[in-house]
């Protein structure tokens, strides 16, 4: 029914456009150049009048009719089935009816259920047809209203532009609402968590053992939700990644901007872009299969005990992932330094290296800092590499040769397997996610402010 309605709206809008444009052409022939808008704007004006309200109605109908039919259905059930049954129980009855109505039979359903299912199918069909009829009527009315407004001096162009800007406002408001919705859902679940575990214990506790029983017959620890070791692990890995990526990326950028010939640059830049396009899970393979064993055997031969999934391995590979990111942002920042500054320094007799170090880097530093901060916030939020390459046990250590876990890894493990959304174990994932979100948000805001301030200076 929904498909039929949408096709109907599309067809009617096209018809409306053709009719409106024909009116516009008639005005043009009759009154010559004194017509305000082009005929196609008359057509578009009628088309949006017909199409947009009908579309909104259909979407609302589709969203609401399910709930209304459900409540009618429950009301129609014999009292014996509904008395004493609450929330989840009613949902169970409803889904059984719906399964039967869709032809999915499990065993012998009760006769009341079969009866209700037949009723449901009847009502659904009725609601569908009702929607088509109502939408059609609405379109006819809108069409008539829009046509009466057409006239040679009618400002169809302006009216259409208003519709269009309304559409764009709706799109951006939608995007913002979705973002707000995500944050709110994160907040609500986190608040539920903080009702079970005090926020102070979560933020400052030194012990993280979230595996606790969610059923009476499970054997597990008691659960401890001190997030400090988890965040420390994230910081260790992000630090290793940044310490590795920032110099390499920056030197790459300096080389490309200041030293490389056009030919070298035309090879190196695309290769870096390929590096940026490698899926993170492939980096994960690389970390687990190549880098981690190499670090372990090197560490052992040097007499250092390196864990098989060391923070160093995950951090270095994450750093490799960040190199193109940092180098391309630093490249932009260095390129934005006016050529006159560079020439001025060279003309005093500075060497290229002196010019880069004392003039170009000084002038581009805010842009480079911004780029590095953005990279750090990516490193903190990065999931796939650490899921594959970092450990699971939260250890309170800053030794990069030890195994550490990260916030993202913990979120993944907390939500895998048996979950119940009223236990602290599951809800802890949302609290971790909230803190992670706030951290990266803060870093991004700082980075963008730095980058913007710097842009104002030279443009």
């Amino acid at each position: 029914m929904l498909g039929t309605a949408l096709l109907l709206i599309l067809g009617m809008s096209i018809v409306a456009f053709i009719v409106g444009r024909a009116s516009g052409r008639r005005f043009l022939r009759a009154s010559g150049s004194s017509i305000h808008s082009l005929p196609s704007y008359h057509g578009l004006f009628v088309a949006v009048w017909v199409g947009v309200p009908a579309l909104v109605l259909v979407l609302l109908w589709a969203a609401l009719s399910g709930t209304i039919v459900d409540s009618l259905l429950l009301a129609s059930l014999p009292d014996s089935m509904t008395t004493g049954v609450t929330g989840a129980g009613l949902d169970l009855v409803l889904s059984e009816i719906k399964n039967v109505a869709a032809g999915l039979l499990f065993g012998e359903p009760r006769p009341e259920i079969v009866e209700a299912a037949a009723r449901l199918n009847r009502w659904d069909a009725l609601a569908g047809w009702a929607m088509v009829v109502v939408v059609f009527a609405l379109m006819i009315v809108a069409f008539a209203v829009a046509r009466t407004r057409l006239a040679p001096r009618f400002r169809a162009r302006n009216a259409f532009e208003r519709w269009l800007s309304g559409l764009m406002i709706a799109a951006s408001v939608g995007a913002i609402l979705v973002t707000v919705g995500i944050v709110v859902s994160l907040l609500v679940e986190s608040l539920a968590f903080f009702r079970m575990v005090p926020i102070g214990e979560f933020l400052f506790g030194l012990n993280w053992e979230p595996q606790m029983p969610i059923r009476a017959d499970q054997v597990a620890g008691l659960g401890a939700f001190g997030a400090v070791p988890v965040f420390l692990g994230t910081i260790v890995i992000a630090t290793v990644a940044t310490l590795f990526a920032a110099p390499v990326g920056l030197f790459t950028a300096i080389y490309l901007v200041e030293y490389a010939s056009e030919r070298v640059r035309s090879v190196v830049k695309p290769v870096l872009e390929v590096l940026a396009g490698v899926p993170t899970i492939v980096y994960g393979f690389f970390a687990v299969l190549t880098v981690a064993p190499a670090i372990r055997s090197t560490g052992n031969s040097l007499g250092l005990a390196a864990s098989p999934n060391s923070a160093l391995a995950a951090g270095v590979v994450m750093g490799i992932m960040l190199i193109p990111f940092i180098s391309s942002l630093s490249d932009d920042a260095l390129r934005a330094v006016p050529r006159s500054l560079r020439d001025g320094s060279l003309a005093i007799g500075a060497t290229r290296a002196e010019t880069v170090r004392k003039v170009m880097l000084a002038a581009a530093l805010p842009g480079i800092m911004g780029g590095v901060l953005l990279a750090v916030s990516r490193a903190i939020g990065e999931t796939m590499i650490v899921v594959m390459a970092a450990g699971l046990i939260a250890t309170l250590t800053i030794n990069p040769l030890d195994s550490v876990t990260t916030v993202t890894v913990q979120i993944v493990t907390l939500l895998i397997g048996d979950t119940a959304f009223d236990s602290p174990k599951t809800l802890a994932a949302f609290a971790l996610g909230l803190v992670l979100f706030l951290t990266t948000l803060l870093l991004n805001v700082i980075a963008l402010r730095i980058v913007n301030r710097y842009r104002e200076k030279y443009d």
Binding site: S261, S340, D343, G344, A347, I348, G349, A350, K358, A362
Partner: protein
Amino acid sequence: MEQLVAPTSKMGVDVRHTGEAGTTEIKVSAQNVDVFYGEKHAIKGVSVNVPARSVMAFIGPSGCGKSTFLRCINRMNDTIEGCKVTGNIRLDDRDIYDANLDVVELRARVGMVFQKPNPFPKSIFENVAYGPRIHGLVHGKADLDAIVEQSLRKAALWEEVKDRLKEPGTGLSGGQQQRLCIARAIAVNPEVILMDEPCSALDPIATARVEELIDELRQNYTIIIVTHSMQQAARVSQQTAFFHLGILVETGSTEFIFTNPHDQRTQDYITGRFG
């Protein structure tokens, strides 16, 4: 009388010279210089002698190659990809395109001031101290302070900025910025200063101050200035060279070039018939 210019160049272009040279010592001497930007032949067989401790002006219509030629003298054209310079340019009888010559050393001896003031995004003090520092000309803070003050005084900027040496150089007015750039150039104690339209971004008052400064600097430095303004050339220079389409058409003392040019093209340009 000093023969300032070779009578004929390699390209067969007749280059005349007019008038007499004021001094006898030749600081910069160019013979048959050609410059190519890739396929483009930008400078064609230019030969010119620049006398020491005087101001020589390069004039000519836009795109005639005067700035390109200026940038050959401190080898700034080396920084442009695809630019090739042939011929012979000598500074105090030493070939500056010699493979053994250190370009850093050359640029310390031949300073440059650009069209647009380009102070570094550092403090006024640091802008002037930049050159002495990288060339290791100073020993200790007092020494550096002295050089900075001396350079700013020579650039006629000291009185205006002595109380705010720590403030950024980019915060000065356009004319002050340009004088700061001149101070920066003379802080490394060069012998030649190249000026590429140094007043084109300045208002008339700032221009007058810079011109005054150029006249004073002539006591100690050899100055070559590229300018679009013939009045400026007439005001500040003792020698003038007229460029047209990559060729050095005529050179000689400013007085003679402006009053009694030999070449019709020079005459046309000076009287405003083209350019």
